[in-house]
């Protein structure tokens, strides 16, 4: 499919990551998954993802820190943050650092897809 969205999923929870990856692939997304920031960087450099879904809590680097790095290199790439921490402050912090959207765990797959699509469309519009 030519119009499939290239999506990068970064989360340290392997069981979630793999299953969600498979489900999104079935729905026509070109999904890459990464358990760490290191893996994610390699994919970002070579695979050119169009939307990133990023867990705030990662083993090797703070998600917000990684978000800043991504925004520095690819300012137009939309990043949706995923967090188990329902703090308003952490959400605001993420938005301030350039995240496109902010979702609370556990997130419903349909809801996530909806947000990914909106993010993709808006980045296209720009």
């Amino acid at each position: 499919m030519t119009n499939e969205i290239r999506l990068l999923l970064v989360d340290d929870e392997k069981d979630f990551l793999e299953v969600t990856g498979k489900r999104l692939a079935r729905r026509g997304f070109a999904v890459k998954i990464a358990l760490t920031c290191g893996e994610a960087k390699a994919i970002l450099d070579h695979e050119w993802p169009e939307v990133v879904v990023l867990d705030v809590m990662l083993p090797d680097l703070n998600g917000i820190q990684f978000l800043k790095e991504i925004k520095q290199k690819w300012p137009l790439l939309p990043v949706i943050l995923l967090s188990g921490h329902a703090s308003v402050q952490s959400g605001i912090k993420g938005i301030e650092c350039g995240a496109y959207d902010y979702c609370l765990k556990p997130v419903d797959l349909e809801e996530l897809i909806e947000r990914v699509k909106i993010a993709y469309q808006e980045s296209r519009a720009v």
Binding site: F16, K22, G84, A86, S87, P106
Partner: protein, 576 residues
């Protein structure tokens, strides 16, 4: 948790010994007051009185002693003078001349101007009375003294002074006899002993004191206070203790004594002062002083006890307040700890929930296609998966509320720009709203002064209200957020184009666990927690319906900047 449970019984146990501790403190303070104030008073009084007593004793002993020796000189000189006078006559005249009638009478008249000598007699060596002048001429005429002990004495020694005796005259008197140089005759005179009664009794020995002369045999020579007779046995014992050297002053029993030998050791002059009666006035003064000290001590103790009681009570009260405060602080700390624990538990649970939800979704998808589709239980399997997903959502709602609940302690109070705070919160939700084609319209008052409050808690409230609005509208609608200043209050209004709040729900809308949302979608805590937060921030939260229908929630915050606002205005006026 364990640590907190352990502190509670320990604290209640500490209560009782604390009372005992304060009682002990009170006793200690009273003892300190006694030691510091009362004891020195008593010590000073005792020291002063014993010093006075000692110095009085020393002074009085000295006085008595001096008096005794001056009297001794006087009395001894008197006796010697009389002896010498008689001796001079025995040398001037002979026996024949004085025996002639009239001559002795003339001599008696010449020497007796002072009335010291009451009679004169001339006695020959055989003891016969040759001549006599005096009031007892009849009784003494022709008397022979040859056998009298004093006559033998004077014939041997040449001189003789008798003890005082009453004799047949029935008047106390003493006799001085002097033998002529050749011992052929004797001139004898009777001395009125009343003369030195006066000399002795004029001694100042104080009340209850006594002054007298006694012979070595214990016979009183002058009447003391007790009159004539024998001296008291203790006086005699004192004389014996005095020994040969004589002059002597000391305290014995209740008396202060001064004794001195007279008349060549034949007599003793005794002066005694009754210490107790001399010091009577001093003792009286000392009693009054003691009474005053006791009264002062009682007064000091009373006042001190009152002061100490009120002081200790005040300390106790302060201590109790401190304990209560510590208890409150501990309570707050405990709540904060529970909050943090709840947050971390909720956070940890969110991750497995995420996995469960994803796996359930995956199973559902697999069931939708695969071989199982033909299985008899296919429908039930799908239902079971649906229920798992539903319960995951329900659990997620609970963990989110727990996280929201735990954040009440968060955040410092600082000056907050309310428009910015509202805007930041809207940003969080705007994308979700837009995905449901819900427009969020801002209607901010531009010149809002900052409010000192907790921004993170406010955002929690705004987020709850926005979520409510989105849920009420569902899709295709409008949420209007308005900020405005009204008197000393700032209003933040959230109006939605939803169906509004039913009148019978308006009363219960802030009750905990009241919800109109579908089961599993809401806990009914959001609005209750939000109003609780607003009230804690000294504001309020009210619910109602807008003029054009739809729910309208109004959060208010006090802005007590009435003093700050004019100051700012003046500053503005000052700078062009």
């Amino acid at each position: 948790m364990k640590a907190y449970l352990a502190t509670i019984p320990a604290e209640s146990l500490r209560q009782k010994p604390r009372e005992a501790y304060y009682a002990g403190q009170k006793r200690l303070f009273v003892l300190v007051v006694i030691a510091v104030a009362v004891l020195p008073l008593v010590a000073i009084n005792w020291k002063t009185s014993s010093f006075y007593q000692k110095s009085w004793l020393a002074k009085t002993t000295g006085e008595l002693s001096g008096f005794a020796s001056s009297r001794r000189e006087l009395i001894d000189r008197f006796l010697t003078d009389q002896e010498n006078l008689l001796g001079a006559f025995t040398e001037l005249y002979d026996r024949q001349y004085l025996s002639r009638p009239g001559n002795l009478a003339r001599l008696f008249q010449a020497i007796n101007k002072s009335g010291i000598i009451t009679d004169l007699g001339v006695i020959d060596a055989n003891g016969r009375h040759l001549a006599y002048v005096g009031p007892f001429a009849d009784q003494l005429a022709g008397r022979n003294y040859a056998a009298a002990p004093w006559f033998g004495e004077v014939m041997r020694q040449g001189r003789y002074v008798s003890d005082v005796f009453t004799g047949y005259r029935q008047v106390p008197h003493l006799v001085i006899a002097v033998a002529a140089p050749d011992h052929s005759w004797v001139l004898r005179a009777t001395i009125n002993s009343a003369m030195f009664n006066g000399l002795v009794s004029s001694a100042n020995v104080g009340p209850g004191g006594d002054a007298y002369i006694i012979s070595a045999g214990g016979e009183l020579q002058t009447p003391g206070r007790l009159g004539a007779g024998k001296a008291a046995p203790e006086d005699l014992a004192l004389l014996r203790a005095a020994g040969a050297d004589g002059h002597h002053a000391r305290q014995q029993g209740r008396y202060l004594y001064a004794v001195t030998p007279l008349n060549g050791g034949a007599w003793w002059l005794v002066l005694k002062t009754d210490i107790a009666s001399s010091l009577q006035e001093f003792y009286q003064a000392r009693k009054i002083g003691l009474a005053l000290i006791v009264a002062a001590a009682l007064a000091i103790l009373g006042v001190a006890q009152q002061l100490i009681r009120s002081l200790v009570n005040r300390i106790e009260k302060a201590e109790q307040q401190r304990m209560t405060l510590t208890g409150k602080v501990r309570e707050v700390e405990k709540m904060a700890l529970i909050g943090r624990m709840a947050a971390s538990v909720a956070h940890e649970i969110n991750n497995p929930l995420q996995v469960i939800g994803a796996q359930a979704g995956w199973v559902e998808e697999l069931l939708e296609e695969g071989v199982a589709r033909q299985g008899a239980n296919h429908q039930e399997e799908l239902e079971a998966i649906g229920k798992i997903r539903q319960q995951v959502k329900r659990a997620a709602t609970i963990t989110r509320r727990l996280l929201g609940f735990s954040r009440h302690q968060e955040g410092p109070w600082q000056a907050v720009d309310l428009n910015q705070t509202v805007e930041e919160t809207i940003l969080l939700l705007e994308k979700e709203a837009r995905s449901q084609r819900i427009d969020i319209r801002r209607n901010y008052q531009g010149d809002l002064a900052p409010v000192v409050t907790d921004a993170s808690q406010l955002q929690q409230v705004f987020l709850n209200l926005l979520h409510n609005g989105v849920d009420a509208v569902e899709h295709d609608g409008l949420i209007t957020v308005t900020t405005a200043k009204e008197n000393n209050r700032i209003k933040i209004c959230f109006a939605d184009s939803g169906p509004g709040i039913a009148p019978d729900h308006l009363e219960k809308i802030f009750d905990p666990f009241f919800t109109t949302k579908a089961k599993g979608k809401g806990t009914g805590l959001g609005l209750a927690v939000s109003r609780d937060i607003m009230r804690r921030l000294q504001g309020d939260l009210r619910a109602g319906n807008g003029l054009e229908g739809g729910g309208l929630f109004t959060a208010t915050l006090e802005q007590p900047g009435t003093e700050m606002a004019p100051a700012r205005n003046e500053q503005n006026r000052g700078s062009p």
